[in-house]
């Protein structure tokens, strides 16, 4: 009896993931086994990271007497096999109605982030789990792969593994031999692709996995330094982990005395927040304050860049064998104000003020940290730690920190929600050079004279703080301000 309809396969991928090659293999394998098939793609944007799809129809009857009619487009509920090389692309297919209860879905677990997600400061990532869960709910069967494992140590492309997985599902009547023959016929990277095919074949046969993604790494809290452990343990339980981690960071950054200053500052906030057992403001301050107090000046950067083991780690990241030569160049550009920041305050004040508007110059350093000379130079910079308390930068940062803390404390007395927002405003103290300067200005513009503002018009201040906080994530470079300043014409 004649088959009722072609089997339909939709493949979603981003440009450069090898979706086109996967398509060619499928067509070639169908030909090898004598099944009529038709494939199509839109190659136009495929090479440039845009989302794209590939589509194949295969008639599950060998050399039928009449020619089946194929379509160039998938249609709702009639995608028998959906394969995607990026998990959130599945959401697009579901939106378009292609995925249904008869679909078998194959997806890689690892996200490839879009530009929109990457641009946002903080965490703009879309988690994969909700999409994977939706896929599992919507389909007959969903197979989720660990892309990193499939790519193997050589980092080969995932398309061959996906080909193997497609073969393993049995949705298409293609023999494994036909698939291998198709890979061989293409004549490109045959060995690596056959390995990938085998890996995919095996992975799709493995038991189903839950829809957990790898987007969230486990946070690693350092224990409190021994000398300060008692003080940290005296803090309320919810604050301890972050405070201990913060204290450890600041000992590494400067010394125990500096970490002690951190705990003193934190204690002020904790004392005002006994109403909420979760101590949200204190936890926020514990995090923000430690991050801020460990501000990345030239000394700190040099310290981090000369951490023992760094060169070995880079070598491992690159998968470079021992018998190769590794050259690591670091790009340091201490801006003028960062360099001036190393001077004592009185001397820094004598330096001429930079012209506003123009990007400020600085020292361009390209240090070959992988040579003994380069490494020593950076190490010498790191040793300036003893001098840090005398620098202009240190003085400025401490003043700004105190101003912010005063604002947090003032808010905490009146309104816990405002206190939390104000604590989080310290997110503006981030980045380097210009980014940091702009951020600190923004923070100061809200937290200055906080007490007076609070007394004069609490709600207005709350709105200001909220706006500044939201801008920190949505408009970090102040670009939207430009647009608002535009004249509207007559």
């Amino acid at each position: 009896m004649s088959a009722e309809r072609p089997l339909c396969v939709l493949i979603a991928a981003l440009g450069g993931q090898g979706g086109g090659v996967l398509l060619d293999w499928l067509v070639e394998a169908a030909r090898h086994d004598g099944y009529p098939a038709q494939a199509t793609s839109i190659a136009g944007v495929a090479q440039r990271t845009g989302a794209t799809t590939y589509y194949v129809e295969l008639f599950p009857e060998r050399e039928p007497a009449r020619d089946p009619v194929f379509s160039l487009f998938p249609s709702a509920g009639e995608v028998d096999l959906f394969a995607t090389l990026e998990p959130t692309e599945a959401a697009r297919a579901i939106e378009l109605g292609y995925i249904g209860g008869d679909t078998t879905a194959l997806t890689v677990r690892e996200r490839i982030f879009s530009t929109a997600e990457k641009m946002l400061p903080g965490d703009g990532r879309l988690p994969a789990e909700p999409v994977l869960e939706a896929l599992q709910r919507a389909t007959k069967r969903t197979v989720i792969f660990d892309g990193k494992a499939l790519a193997g140590e050589t980092g080969r492309q995932l398309n061959a593994a996906m080909f193997g997985a497609i073969a393993a599902t049995g949705v298409l009547p293609l023999s494994e031999d036909a698939c291998r023959a198709a890979i061989k016929a293409s004549g490109v990277a045959v060995e690596a692709n056959l390995e990938g095919f085998a890996a995919g074949l095996e992975a799709a046969g493995a038991p189903e996995k839950a829809a957990t993604a790898d987007g969230t790494a486990n946070l690693e809290y350092d224990p409190a330094p021994a000398a300060l452990a008692a003080r940290v343990n005296a803090l309320p339980a919810p604050v301890q982990a972050m405070a201990g981690h913060g204290a450890a960071r600041l000992v590494d950054y400067q010394d125990e005395r500096y970490a002690g200053l951190y705990l003193n500052r934190l204690a002020g906030v904790v004392a005002l927040e006994s109403k909420d057992e979760a101590y949200p403001v204190s936890v926020a301050v514990a995090q923000r304050l430690a991050a801020w107090m460990a501000f990345e000046d030239v000394i700190r950067v040099a310290q981090l860049k000369t951490r023992p083991g760094r060169l070995a780690r880079i070598r491992a990241d690159l998968g470079a064998p021992e018998d190769t030569t590794l050259v690591v160049r670091d790009f340091l550009k201490p801006g003028r104000e960062e360099l001036e920041g190393l001077l004592p305050p009185w001397l820094a004040r004598l330096m001429p003020k930079p012209k506003p508007g123009k990007l400020r110059k600085g020292l361009k350093l390209r240090v070959r940290t992988s040579t003994a000379g380069g490494w020593l130079m950076l190490r010498a910079l790191a040793k300036l730690k003893f001098w840090r308390r005398r620098t202009a930068r240190y003085g400025r940062e401490q003043v700004a920190i105190e101003d912010w803390l005063v604002a947090v404390l003032a808010a905490a007395k009146h309104d816990p929600a405002l206190a939390l927002d104000t604590a989080n405003l310290a997110v503006w103290a981030r980045g380097y050079g210009d980014t940091r300067e702009r951020g600190l200005d923004r923070l100061a513009s809200v937290s200055g004279d906080f007490d007076k503002q609070l007394a004069a018009d609490g709600p207005a201040l709350g709105a200001n703080v909220g706006a500044a906080l939201s801008a920190a994530y949505k408009d970090p470079d102040g670009e939207q301000d430009h647009d608002q300043a535009e004249p509207t014409g007559r």
Partner: protein
């Protein structure tokens, strides 16, 4: 990890060989002879059809989905075309390509040209009007690829309008490979029968469709270098001057179009499937046959092989329509559905006119149940067809309604499981693209100077209009970026800033933009991105590449051209040196009173460069010679997670990694394996005084003896210092 060869000197200059990509397999398919089976993409099948039809010349301008035709023929020029005596050129623009058809006006020469429509057709329309007026002696065929619908990169318009106004027959073939090939060959016969050029239009998905057909031998053209046409002709009734133009216009309606209709009828160009003779039917463009059939099968009105009780009229020729054929189909129907993609609905209107003129009592439906705008994908057509059948077909109607409801319900159920919106993923610059650093520099300049208007152009550079750059306020056409800013500088009281690729410069930019600005004394800054190729369409060569697509050395210099038109302020920048570029842009911006200022960036398209370098590196690896792998990296501890670098780059290889440090609020930056070490990250970090997180790591494989020794000493010292 991508690999950069150690010795740049080993790598040939840009485009010296003309063979960055290889189409050898495709070229082999063009050689197939009588009775052999062709298997491959439709666009290649069409290319084969041109050779089977006996073309004497082929030209065109690349653009999706027609680039492949040009690429393959360029490589086939030596092995296939020249031995047959077929002339091939990559025309400088679609206008040039269309003008090539001039060979068929006076001479019995068959020829074909190709481009992307609608944009290419617009550029070519001057020549097309003239050829259609003069009329042709030899078959002249224009193969256009319709970039309409999903993934389209151009404005959404119909080629149909051009065909109508110039009286050019327009074929929209049914997408079955054998039929597509047959109709392409018949297009030449049709052209000769009616003395008009003929357009064969194919949609983007169909161009990339795979399939097979049985070949014929390629046909050698009647005339060529080995047997030239005896004597030039100058029959002046072909010249477009009065009174010939008046005669041409009359001939079109009285002689040529009627001849076309007769040919269409006599040769079964359009196909009628009578069905079971019911009193409703469907009239469709040939190219929508597949989606109509799919919709009918889903609704229970057809089977997997296209067997249907529904009468169908498949118009493989959508201009001119044949009124007698239409009348024959409508005469015994109460109602027909017209499936016609795009707008305006020329076919539907003409059918109504025919029905009225011939006093036929048949209702015409179409855009009342199908969308007026947008691509006719399978589901869109199914929805329209379901509405039509439910209302008009008492026999199928009830089942259609049930099936339609079931399909919608299932899709809605799946959609309901979705709780998130997928991220948008527009195309962007490739990893290592030399255009990215220019926009980084422009963004830094905007930070200094405030926003300014940027006139964009066609090509990869248009992607800068999207995040993270958001640079580009207008796009008017290929090579028209500078011209399109002409009146803006005055209104905003700032220099016109325009971007143009080398493709755009040679296509139309030199005359319409640069000469225009220079001649009119515009205060303008033109940034020319000379990456060596028409990169967006697949790295086709342009006049400044250094060679033609088939490897003949030929270089036309952009700077010489600009100097020749009198441009004096001309600076060349090295794309990846952002600080220097920024300085040059600043100077260009401030050179008030100097007229047209040109900043030229000439770093090669990274895709093309990688293709060449990979080969060299692979050879060196095999030979055990030294080679370097280079990649950027980010120190996780140093990165503060503000992602300022992403906002100045948008490189696909610069991405996020979850932070382990609880003090960090979000993921930190990381550079993935696709990095090609273009240096932009280091440049941005320095030029924008951004961040010291980045490092560049180079791994030297198979180091030479002296390096091995010095490396050993260095590593000992590092050990001793406590670095490892």
């Amino acid at each position: 990890m991508n690999i950069v060869a150690q010795l740049q000197g080993q790598i040939g200059p840009i485009g010296a060989s003309g063979m960055e990509r290889s189409f050898a397999r495709q070229v082999e398919k063009l050689k197939l002879g009588e009775g052999e089976t062709f298997e491959g993409e439709a666009i290649l099948a069409i290319t084969k059809a041109l050779l089977q039809a006996g073309v004497s010349y082929v030209g065109g301008y690349p653009g999706a989905p027609m680039s492949h035709l040009m690429d393959v023929l360029a490589e086939a020029r030596g092995p296939v075309l020249q031995p047959m005596g077929v002339m091939f050129e990559q025309s400088a623009s679609e206008a040039g390509a269309a003008a090539l058809l001039g060979a068929s006006i006076q001479y019995p020469l068959r020829g074909a040209v190709t481009w992307k429509s609608i944009v290419g057709t617009n550029v070519a329309s001057d020549a097309l009007s003239n050829i259609a007026s003069s009329g042709v002696t030899g078959g002249a065929v224009i193969v256009v690829g319709e970039d309409y619908g999903e993934g389209a990169s151009v404005i959404q318009e119909r080629t149909h309008a051009t065909a109508l106004k110039s009286s050019i027959p327009l074929l929209d073939p049914r997408y079955k490979m054998s039929r597509l090939v047959e109709l392409t060959e018949q297009a030449f016969d049709l052209s000769e029968a009616c003395e008009l050029p003929v357009i064969v239009s194919i949609r983007i998905r169909a161009a990339h469709m795979t399939g097979k057909f049985t070949c014929k031998d390629n046909r050698r053209p009647a005339y060529g270098p080995k047997g030239p046409f005896p004597k030039p002709r100058n029959a002046n009734d072909r010249i477009v001057l009065p009174p010939s133009t008046y005669i041409h216009e009359k001939e079109k309606v009285e002689k040529r179009l009627p001849a076309a209709r007769q040919f269409i009828l006599d040769h079964g160009i359009n196909e009628t499937f009578p069905g079971d003779g019911r009193r409703i039917g469907i009239i469709m463009q040939g190219g929508t046959y597949g989606v109509v059939q799919r919709a009918m099968r889903r609704l229970g009105a057809s089977d997997a092989f296209g067997e249907t009780p529904m009468p169908l009229l498949v118009l493989n020729a959508i201009h001119p329509l044949v009124p007698d054929q239409i009348e024959a189909f409508l005469a015994d129907k109460d109602c027909v559905l017209v499936v016609e993609e795009g707008n305006p609905p020329f076919i539907e209107r003409e059918l109504r006119a025919i029905a009225q003129e011939r006093r036929l009592d048949c209702r015409i439906r179409g855009k009342d149940v199908l969308p007026e705008a947008g691509e006719y994908v399978a589901d869109v057509v199914r929805n329209g067809l379901a509405a039509f059948l439910a209302e008009e077909d008492a026999d199928l109607g009830p089942e259609v309604r049930d099936r339609q409801k079931a399909i919608e319900k299932a899709a809605d159920k799946a959609r309901a499981s979705l709780t998130v919106v997928p991220p948008t993923r527009p195309p962007g610059f490739c990893t290592g693209c030399p255009e990215r650093p220019i926009f980084t520099a422009l963004k830094l300049l905007q930070r200094e100077r405030g926003a300014f208007h940027i006139s964009s152009d066609i090509g990869c550079n248009t992607f800068a209009a999207l995040p993270p750059f958001n640079m580009g306020s207008t796009v008017l056409g290929y090579g028209l970026g500078l011209a399109s800013g002409g009146a803006i500088g005055n209104a905003l009281d700032q220099p016109v800033v325009a971007i143009m690729g080398d493709g755009g410069f040679w296509h139309n930019g030199l005359t319409s933009s640069a000469v225009n600005a220079q001649w009119n004394g515009h205060e303008a800054v033109l940034i020319v991105l000379e990456n060596g190729y028409a990169a967006a369409t697949g790295q086709q060569h342009v006049p400044s590449t250094g060679s033609t697509a088939w490897g003949r050395p030929a270089k036309i210099s952009i700077t010489q051209a600009l100097r020749a038109i009198g441009v004096t302020w001309l600076r060349r920048v090295s794309a990846y040196d952002v600080a220097a570029t920024l300085k040059t842009l600043r100077a260009a911006f401030d050179a008030t009173g100097k007229g047209l200022r040109v900043v030229l960036s000439d770093a090669e398209c990274m895709l093309a460069r990688q293709r060449r370098e990979r080969k060299v590196t692979a050879d060196r690896r095999k030979a055990g010679l030294p080679y370097v792998q280079a990649r950027y990296g980010v120190d996780e501890e140093v990165c503060t997670g503000d992602h300022a670098c992403m906002r100045l780059s948008g490189c696909p290889s610069l991405t996020l990694r979850p932070a382990r440090d609880p003090l960090k609020e979000g993921p930190t930056a990381t550079v993935d394996q696709s990095c090609v070490a273009c240096n932009l990250c280091g440049e941005v970090a320095q030029a924008a005084a951004l961040c010291p997180s980045f490092y560049k790591a180079e791994v030297i494989h198979n180091p030479r003896a002296w390096r091995k020794i010095s490396d050993r000493v260095n590593r000992r010292m590092l050990d001793w210092l406590g670095a490892s």
